[in-house]
Assembly symmetry: C2
């Protein structure tokens, strides 16, 4: 079904400050792309099949800008640790298990199913260092109908033997992986994924910079998440002005030909923020993770004001829940605490702002994604919010607020990615 | 069924620092009271019916020390406001609707059903100023099988006409209410409930102090939640040393014959904390609400160190979720942010501490409640945590951690209150 019409209570984001909504509206899909929202269905679309979801919310699918698929299995464990201890205790031993492709297939299937059934329609996802298992993850995501960028992780130092590559090996496996998967799937593509600076030698980063230039693929990594981590990066890259500058030295920090996502940015200083802005680096704001690992609270209001591109990340398993509804609630909550306790010049996030981040903000990393405006890829889901006892009484904006705080995955009753109906 | 045995993976709290657990253990119930936990079932209990929940977690029921039943209906709305504006905009108009007993019956039934199906087995709950509707709430709670203390609210100033009593009227209705409900229900009892100091004149508070002495019922209210509120109380009670001292002036702040719960205590100063400790006032820590309404983060580590009695509150609808699993997760999370951002002398809460607060800590307001130790009322629920892919791999303590972050109400598959099986 390439052309169809969705009917229901539509809500989408025009910009961070403005929600758009249309009660009992019509959203037209043509060839996987929005042909706009209408109060009355134009005659020219009247022959299209009409999917009538009257009384239900229809929202743009969410883009999870940062998640670790292999960590889904042990989510919500070891949350009493900070980042570096948590990596050593839980993450590295668990990720090492993905050398076994059978383990990978079984456990990645669970992660993909969790993502498939909830409100997220696409994501930027870390695998592990293992090429074959990462390819399995990509295959499973494509089969699920979701859209994603997926990274084979690079790590050649500061991790246990069972989860560390040789420098040459890491680069070679990455090239082989890119050659195997580039262009293979219509909706799942590779993204270069140095884990974070402490995991990669200068030599490896240099090779990755060259690989990026050669294959023109985007980049994802971590930036300025935790105090001990930032101090460690300063030790490891004494010549760099800041954490971001160290990535930049190797050509892995944005710019026109290197779309880049950096997760966290809790502790970025003025110079790093200026560099992100200059290079158009996307920030993946991961509020739940930053709280769980006691990293702190990113200055999201500042990033919005400076118009740095930004979306939300579940950061499974620093975060525990895939659904970006939860990330929106947490983003709002921690922004209130930051305002109250740290800096009252940075106002809390509003509902429209949090919604923007989960939809159009993060979606922009994939192009025209995350809105119902004409020309945007038709990612959408239908939410049955009747459990909250809403109907007939609340505005669509109020229903959105309630969904942010109350929704559960089983209330997502239909889902579309680029116009394909998943369920 | 007065005597029976529960079998499963048991976990309970000895004290804030120590979890107890027993895999494949036996919990014996005799006449609604725990007769202890056993690795092997003693011969003398062998004739009791055995309810075998092998592989599932069995935990003490949670005590929600602070919730507003009439606010359940509009939970997760107006979360962009602080306390006083939120009360005026949402709470007061909604609570006024409970003058209509049909509205009350319909909407209280929804709140009670939400509480019934989740992990909470008892709570201290605010109604509204309306005597008849409050009695309906008590009736519904008793019918549900839950245990509760319920308060008809007192308000004779600073609220709209539709939600304000005369001073005499408030006192008289309170007396009539107590006379009507005291001793009426085995598991639901009255608790005196001045809304908060700005809602009650000195004259009313004086009358309530006398009512408390006459009828020997406990007291619940709010304390030092929000900056504007605290400043307002200082204006209204210029003679008082602090917010708590103003309650105390009227005999409504703890002591041997006046068990008292105060919700929030975000901004309590040293003198107020000392007075709470002296009088044995229970704190209802409501982390989600304190974040949602941008009130701040209570210094829970300090309260634990000073051994002030304390439990958790959902604070529906400053909080959005009834389940105290969620309050536990939020309590841990905000304690990490407070430690990281405000005062690193107050260490974050641990899993055992948060679990203690939800069980034995808050349960203590009801007597021997919230543990499986011998002599404790048998409040318990069975949690099917198989969805998290745990079985055979994690310790009970680790499974508890995951349940705190991941559990959903529909995973509560059996529930017991004072030995009565609700489902």
């Amino acid at each position: 079904m390439k052309n169809f019409v969705l009917k229901g209570d539509l809500c989408w984001s025009r910009d961070p400050q403005h929600l758009e909504s249309r009660k009992n509206g019509y959203l037209v899909c043509e060839n996987g792309v929005s042909a706009g929202v209408y109060e009355t269905l134009p005659e020219k679309y009247s022959a299209y099949p009409l999917l009538d979801y009257a009384g239900k919310l229809i929202l743009p699918g969410f883009t999870d800008l940062h998640a670790h698929a292999p960590q889904y299995r042990y989510r919500a464990l070891g949350m009493d640790l900070e980042l570096l201890e948590w990596l050593d205790t839980h993450t590295f031993p668990q990720e090492a298990l993905y050398q076994d492709t059978a383990h990978a297939r079984k456990n990645y299937a669970r992660f993909v199913e969790e993502m498939r059934k909830g409100p997220n329609t696409r994501g930027c996802i870390f695998g592990t260092i293992h090429r074959e298992s990462t390819e399995i993850l990509m295959e499973l995501l494509e089969e699920s109908g979701l859209a994603a960028m997926v990274g084979k992780v690079n790590m050649d130092r500061h991790s246990p033997d069972i989860l560390r590559e040789g420098t040459e090996e890491s680069a070679e496996e990455t090239i082989r992986w890119i050659q195997e998967v580039q262009g293979k799937y219509p909706h799942v593509t590779p993204i270069l994924t140095p884990r974070f600076l402490p995991s990669c030698t200068d030599a490896l980063l240099e090779k990755l910079g060259k690989i990026q230039k050669k294959f023109h693929i985007p980049v994802q990594s971590h930036l300025s998440e935790n105090r001990s981590e930032v101090a460690w990066v300063q030790e490891l890259f004494p010549q760099s002005k800041n954490y971001g500058d160290a990535y930049d030295h190797f050509g892995l920090f944005g710019g026109e030909n290197c779309p880049t996502i950096m997760a966290h940015c809790v502790l970025s200083d003025d110079a790093e923020i200026a560099l992100m802005k200059e290079r158009g680096v996307f920030i993946a704001h991961c509020p739940e993770s930053n709280t769980n690992l006691a990293s702190g609270i990113a200055p999201v209001r500042r990033y919005l004001s400076e118009e740095i591109p930004m979306g939300l990340g579940s950061d499974i398993a620093g975060g525990t829940r895939c659904s970006l509804f939860y990330a929106m609630a947490e983003a709002i909550r921690v922004s209130k605490l930051r305002w109250r306790l740290v800096d009252d010049r940075l106002a809390p996030l509003t509902i429209p702002e949090a919604f923007y981040l989960a939809t159009k903000g993060g979606g922009a990393f994939f192009g025209k994604v995350g809105s119902f405006e004409e020309g945007y890829l038709l990612d959408a889901f239908v939410l049955d919010d009747s459990r909250y006892d809403n109907i007939g009484e609340y505005t669509i904006a109020e229903r959105l607020e309630r969904a942010i705080y109350l929704s559960e995955d089983n209330e997502v009753c239909h889902k579309f990615v680029e116009g394909r109906q998943l369920f």
